[in-house]
Symmetry: C2
Subunit: 394 residues, 2 copies
Amino acid sequence: MEKATHQATKEHNATLALKTIYHSDPLSRADIARATGLTRTTVSDIVAELLDQGLVTEVGPGPTAVGKPPILVQFDPGCRQLICVDLGGSEFRAALVNAQGAMLRTASLPVEDRKGEDALLLVFQLVETLWTQVTAPLLGIGVGTPGPVDPDRGVIRMAVNRGWEDLDLKGRLEARFKVPIHVANDSHVAALAECAYGGHGRSPSLVLIKAGEGIGSGIILKGRLYAGEGFSAGEIGHLCVERGGLPCSCGNAGCLETVASVPALLLAAGARARSNPGSALAKTLAARGATLEVLLERFEEGDPQARSLIQDLGTHLGVAAASLAGILNIHRIVLSGAPASFGQACLDAMAAEMRARILLEQGREMEVVASTLGPDIVLQGACALVLRKELNLP
Amino acid sequence: MEKATHQATKEHNATLALKTIYHSDPLSRADIARATGLTRTTVSDIVAELLDQGLVTEVGPGPTAVGKPPILVQFDPGCRQLICVDLGGSEFRAALVNAQGAMLRTASLPVEDRKGEDALLLVFQLVETLWTQVTAPLLGIGVGTPGPVDPDRGVIRMAVNRGWEDLDLKGRLEARFKVPIHVANDSHVAALAECAYGGHGRSPSLVLIKAGEGIGSGIILKGRLYAGEGFSAGEIGHLCVERGGLPCSCGNAGCLETVASVPALLLAAGARARSNPGSALAKTLAARGATLEVLLERFEEGDPQARSLIQDLGTHLGVAAASLAGILNIHRIVLSGAPASFGQACLDAMAAEMRARILLEQGREMEVVASTLGPDIVLQGACALVLRKELNLP
C-alpha cells in the first residue's frame, strides 16, 4: 500500500475525462463534467491539456436551449498510430492501426523454420515494412507472442517453437525503434481484444479461449487482464485431460493440446477415415488432403463422421473449460480460433461437458459463446495493450 | 471508474497509518511519517483521531539521540472485540476474540439435523452465549458458512445441508444484534485467515484448499480474496475428477468430494478392509470403527494399506489442485483440514500428481504446503473478514 497523492488524483481524473470522451459522441465540457462528476474548472483544464496533446479536437458548436452554444470536443482517431504484431503460428503478422484500432495497413512474413536470432530478425523486418508507412505520431509497438511473458518487463520467458528463452523482446525492439514497446502472451492479448472490442460492456469479466495450432486462454477480471504469478495464467493447453494419454511436446502426456488442437483434430480425422475407408469423409480426405478447410466443408454438409469429430472436440475443450468456469466462477466463456468456426455444434458440446463437470448453480449461470473478432484477434489485442499502457484506454 | 476525491485520499492515508501501527512495535509519530511517506502534520492529525477512537494508545517516551524524547504509540489489541462464527460441519462454533484475533472465549452447539429456521435459531443461540461475555466495544460479528455467499450483501445463496436458500443472514443477525455483520463462504474466509495469519508476508497470492466433510478452496490474489461472479470461485469440491464416477449430492457424478472428502476416504478404507479381511487395517477398523482417528493411527504406524489410501487421497486432491495451479498460476497451494493431518506423504502425492498435469515451468515454481493454522481456521478467517471490512486491517 502506498500513500495517495494529489498528483495521482489529478492523473486519475484526467484519464477519467479522456475515457469519457473516447467512448462518446462529440460532447461539451459541461457534458463531461456531468458524466464524470468533476468540476467545470477541472474539466476545462484537462480538455486544454488534451487539445495540446492533439488527442482530442474541437468539432464546432453543439445544440443549446439558451445562450451561447457550447463547443463540442471528440477523440481524434487519427491523432496517433500503432504497430501491432502477432508472432503466433506459421507466419508473423503485423498491422498499422489508428488510435481506435482501425487497420490501415497489414503485412506478414512466413516464419518457416527460423529460430532464435533469425526469428527475431524476421520480427524487425516485419516492423520495418510498416514503419515506412506511418503517417501520424507513433504511440508504440504492441506484440502478442506464444509463451509466458512478463508484461511489465517485456521478456519472453520461453517460446519453445521459436527457441526463445528469457528473450528481452521489449529491450531489443526499443533499442532498434526508439518508441514505447509492449509485449504480452498471445492468448492474454487476445483476451484484452475481446474485453475492448468484443461488445461485452465497460469492465467485463470473461475467459477467452484461443484454440488453433496451440491452445491457451486469457482471463479478464472486471476489465483487467489477470496474468498470474509466472505470467502463465489460463494455461489450459497443457492442462492434462487424459491421464496416460498421448505424449505432448511439453514433456507431459494427455494435455488438452494432444486432443483438441488443430493438428490433433486432423490426426483424429485421419484415424476415423482409416477405420472406415469407404466413407465420404475418408474419400474426401484421400482426394484433397486432411486440412481444416476440408473438414469444415464435410462438417457443414452434415457428414456424420465430421460431426462426431467436432462433438468430441467440443467435449475435450469442455473438460478444460469446466476447470476455468468452476475455479474462476466467471460466467462468460468466449471461444476463438478454429473450433469456433464449427459454430454452435462445438459450443453446445463444450457447454454440455462443462455442465456435467461443475456445480449445477455455476452451470446455470455460465454461457459459452463464439468470439466475433475473427483471425485478427491477437493484432487487435496488441493494439488494446498499447492503448492501455500508454493512454489508459480503452 | 469513479472520480478520485480528497476525502478518499484522506481515508486512504489514515488506513495506511493505522496498518503501519498495527504491524509494528511501538513507534513515534516521526517513525510513522518515515514509514508511510506522509507529512508529520498529516500523521499527527491521524494519530489524534486514532487516539480519540481508542484504537491506539500512547505507551510513554521512546529513545532519542538529542532533545525531548518522542511519545510512542501502539495498537491496542483490547480496544475492540469481535464474535466469530463457523457454521460448517456437525457443530456450529463461535469465538469471542480481541482486535488482534486472540481467542478470549469459545462456544459450540451440535447441529444435529436442524435445518432452515431451526438452524438459524441455533446460530442466534450460539452468538448470545458469547454476547454476555463481551467486555469491550464490539466491532462486529463475522460468519463463515458453507455455500456461495455474496460477501457484500451477506446473503447465503444456497447451503444444501442446512436447507438455506437466499437466506439474508446478515440482515437477520443485524436485526437481532444491532452491530456490523459480515458473512462469507467458509473456504473463502479460511483463505483470508491463511492470508492474514499464515506467515506468507504482507500481500501474498495463494490458494487455500479446505478439505474435510466437504472440499472447497479460497483464492487470494495479492492479498485480496477473489470471490468470483457468483461467489463460488475456487469451488473444487464439485469439479469432476472421474467422469462417470460415483454420484454426488450436487446432482453430478465423479466430483472431487466423491473421492477425496473424509466420508469418501473412510468408505475407501472400508472397501480396502473388506478386500483383505486378514489385514491389520481390516482388524483395527472392525474392532474400533472406521474413523479418521483410527486411520491416522494406522497410517502413522506405517500400515501399507493406510499409506496407499493416503497416496490415493493426495493424488485425487492433486487432480483438482493442478487445475487451480495451471489456471491461476499461483505458486503457493496451502492444504488445511483432515488430509493435511497426514503430513508430507499426502502433500507429496498431491504435488507429484499436479506436476504431471501442468506445464513443467509452472510445476517447478509451485509449492504445496500444509497450513499451520489448525482447526480454528474458519473462526480466524471470520475475524480477519470483520477486521478488513471495519478497519481495513490486517
